[in-house]
């Protein structure tokens, strides 16, 4: 497991610039083609940059290179999950057999662990129920013997999104 090193000034400047450009892009998407809107748009993008950079701190950050692969995985899992819920809703209905399971996360505290907690709800049949320290308690729609392997796979992918390679086996 690795932690993010302290940022050198040029990296920080590049990150600030990219965040500012993203803010401008979001403003453009929301307001359309009106050029007068930039009077408010540029200060809004600057404020957006300030809060994003300040809020993120020096913890692990999402690596843009890993984003396309993670998005593809997310879309595929979303489809599987939607099909799974539809199958249960239409066929099983009230006869589902819900339960709980626990999973100890190997991800560092902060943003990666929070993203993992949110993404657990993306997998078929699992819903994040609570997060205490590194322990995730998960509600399951029905017993799934592959749930543990799927959680470990999702955790590894969230780790790679943040540039963290998980070495040790899940507990």
């Amino acid at each position: 497991m690795s932690s993010a090193p302290h940022l050198i000034p040029s990296t920080r400047a590049f990150r600030t610039l990219i965040t500012f450009l993203l803010g401008l892009f979001l403003w453009k998407v929301c307001t359309g083609y009106d050029p007068e809107s930039w009077i408010l748009g540029i200060p809004a993008a600057a404020l957006f940059t300030y809060f994003v950079i300040k809020g993120a701190g020096d913890g692990p950050r999402i690596h843009l290179r890993a984003l396309p692969g993670f998005t593809a995985y997310f879309l595929l899992q979303s489809f599987r999950t939607g099909m799974d819920v539809a199958r249960h809703a239409l066929l099983t209905g009230q006869h589902v057999n819900p339960g709980f399971t626990q999973y100890r996360s190997r991800l560092p505290e902060g943003s990666p662990r929070a993203v993992f907690a949110n993404m657990i709800s993306l997998l078929p049949g699992t819903l994040s129920w609570s997060l205490t320290g590194d322990m995730h308690k998960i509600h399951m729609l029905e017993g799934n013997p592959l749930a543990y392997e799927e959680l470990a796979e999702l955790e590894a992918r969230v780790g790679r999104l943040y540039g963290i390679e998980l070495q040790e086996a899940p507990l």
Partner: protein, 98 residues
């Protein structure tokens, strides 16, 4: 163009199917947490399919970006609000038990 419209119709129908499945799940699943599975998962996929179907009928890039942004924000808020709701149910259950 006909192919695009056909594909768009397929995605819109898929979206409709997942919305209906989600609503049926909401009615049929036995407890609140199970119902949240229907809301947090099938609804997101349904919205994604509807948005993809609408995008295929769009030519304006800015509108396409806006539609993708709507889906992204919905996904983020759905995952977070689902987690917060689960925590609320957890606290309520613990309070009732002790």
């Amino acid at each position: 163009m006909i192919l695009l419209e056909l594909l768009s119709t397929v995605f819109l129908c898929l979206g409709l199917f997942f919305f209906i499945a989600s609503a049926i799940g909401l009615l049929r699943f036995p407890d609140t947490l199970c119902r949240m599975h229907a809301l947090a998962k099938a609804d997101n996929l349904a919205l994604g399919c509807i948005i993809l179907g609408v995008i295929l009928r769009q030519t304006d890039l800015l509108t396409i970006a806006k539609l993708v942004l709507i889906w992204g924000i919905t996904l983020l808020s759905s995952a977070t609000s689902g987690f917060l709701l689960a925590q609320r149910i957890r606290r309520k259950t613990l309070h009732e038990e002790f």
